[in-house]
């Protein structure tokens, strides 16, 4: 069933990523980690559909926020990040997905590992934790190209300053800030050992990002003693156009 959402806010997160907030009157509610399908339709009836992770926490205002990264060869993402205006209507279907989700009833430690725009569904989990006021301890390991590519930077910083049960580690792959202790590079076993929950605490891990990133991070978690059934993954391919 396709629903109609009205664009009520637009926010540029970086030079290539934009958050679109939709008001969807008949929205049934969602769980952090789920995604929606968005459909665009041309005047002649041609349509294109892509999936986007929900960035916003579940709420009572029938609002759904998605953050879309513009892909240079994309068909849908350039429209969503450059053309869409406040007041436009967009069609969407969802929420979809019941596996890569974090529910506010979960009390075990949570390990989030994001690669690039893979942060989006994990941000929904963090926001969901905040709005529900629960105390499940969260750790986020966020691998990103360079400081300028960080999504939700200020919000994440404010949150981890205010609440020490949400800890935040960045790993820069291409360019790190000047005084950064770790040289630019991919996530490796040493970083996993130093910054993620010890496996004997029984954390549930959520790993989201491009396929090679997820393959690598999930294998490292598994190798460090985490049970595979406690590691949930969501991958997107280079042409997947999915956050």
């Amino acid at each position: 069933m396709w629903r109609v959402g009205k664009v009520v806010a637009l926010h540029d997160e970086t030079s290539t990523a934009r958050t679109i907030t939709l008001e969807v009157p008949d929205w049934p509610g969602h769980v952090a980690g789920q995604h929606v399908d968005v459909r665009l339709t041309a005047p002649d009836g041609y349509s294109a559909v892509r999936s986007y992770s929900i960035a916003s926490a579940p709420n009572h205002e029938s609002r759904v926020g998605i953050t879309v990264e513009r892909l240079s060869n994309g068909e849908v993402s350039p429209y969503l990040t450059q053309e869409v205006a406040v007041g436009d209507q967009l069609e969407l279907r969802g929420p979809i997905g019941g596996w890569f989700v974090w529910r506010t009833e979960q009390t075990e430690p949570v390990q989030l590992i994001a690669g690039g725009s893979g942060i989006v569904p994990l941000m929904s989990m963090i926001r969901s934790r905040v709005s529900a006021g629960t105390t499940a301890p969260f750790r986020l390991l966020y691998s990103v190209r360079e400081p300028g590519a960080i999504l939700y930077r200020d919000e994440l910083q404010a949150l981890s300053d205010r609440d020490h049960s949400v800890s935040l580690t960045y790993a820069f792959t291409r360019a790190a800030p000047k005084d950064w202790s770790r040289p630019p590079g991919r996530i490796d076993a040493a970083l996993i050992a130093k910054t993620t929950w010890p496996s004997n605490l029984g954390p549930t891990s959520y790993v989201c990002g491009p396929t090679p990133f997820v393959e690598s991070a999930a294998s490292l978690l598994s190798a460090s003693g985490n049970s595979p059934d406690k590691i949930r993954t969501e991958r997107f391919g280079p042409t997947g156009d999915r956050k």
């Binding site: 069933m1 396709w2 109609v4 459909r39 665009l40 339709t41 041309a42 005047p43 009836g45 041609y46 349509s47 294109a48 559909v49 892509r50 999936s51 068909e75 429209y79 053309e83 436009d88 209507q89 967009l90 069609e91 279907r93 969802g94 979809i96 997905g97 019941g98 596996w99 890569f100 396929t211 393959e215 999930a218 294998s219 978690l221 598994s222 595979p228 059934d229 590691i231 949930r232 993954t233 991958r235 997107f236 391919g237 280079p238 042409t239 997947g240 999915r242």
Partner: protein
């Protein structure tokens, strides 16, 4: 009736006509799995057919690879909307796997290393519609794409083509597998766009 998106023209290509509704073409091979990739050593690999508590058939890697295999060219359609056309595989048809098996069951639950499951009607596995595939594009199947061996049932959405298969259980009634129990369609025909249950 869909709403026209102001200023959207889209990017059409000649191949769109040959794709199931709502799909777009890709030339790479994206990976979608719910968890880490299992690595299954060949000397511990096995494939079984069970019904209730009975084991009807069992193969180890050596006896499985002695079964006659064939090359397959197939179009793949993923529920996340990418399609990949003309992919090349090598595998054993399920007709061969089932040879001599007598059953009154009408459905099968596929089981994978890593505990993934997916359900299929038995008729969809017969008549050269499904294979246990172990080579892709002339090479041994990589673990992230389901190696050592995966189900290939290309006329259904790709989540039905379970990776890392270890066996199947025959069932008198249809029951949902992993994704089918999480909101995805019980059957999953891409040409009828059966993506989600009731959505």
């Amino acid at each position: 009736m869909s709403i026209v998106s102001r200023g959207f023209s889209g990017r059409r290509s000649a191949t769109d006509a040959t794709l199931p509704p709502g799909q777009y073409l890709t030339t790479d091979f994206p990976v979608l799995s719910a968890g880490p990739t299992p690595h299954v050593p060949l000397d511990r690999w096995e494939f079984t057919i069970k019904e209730g508590t009975d084991v009807l058939r069992r193969w180890d890697w050596k006896s499985f690879r002695e079964l006659p295999a064939e090359t397959i060219t197939a179009d793949l359609h993923c529920v996340t909307r990418w399609s990949k056309l003309g992919t090349s595989w090598e595998g054993v048809p399920l007709d061969t796997i089932f040879a001599g098996v007598r059953t009154n069951s009408s459905y099968a639950m596929m089981h994978s290393y890593g505990d993934y499951t997916t359900n299929l009607p038995l008729v969809d596995l017969m008549k050269k519609q499904a294979w246990i595939a172990f080579r892709f594009d002339g090479k041994d199947l990589a673990p992230e794409h389901g190696g050592p061996a995966r189900l290939l049932v290309p006329h259904l959405y790709l989540w039905k083509s379970a990776k890392w298969v270890r066996g199947m259980t025959l069932m008198p009634e249809d029951k949902p597998g992993f994704w089918e129990g999480l909101g995805y369609h019980i059957y999953g025909d891409p040409w009828r766009e059966q993506r989600y249950s009731g959505a």
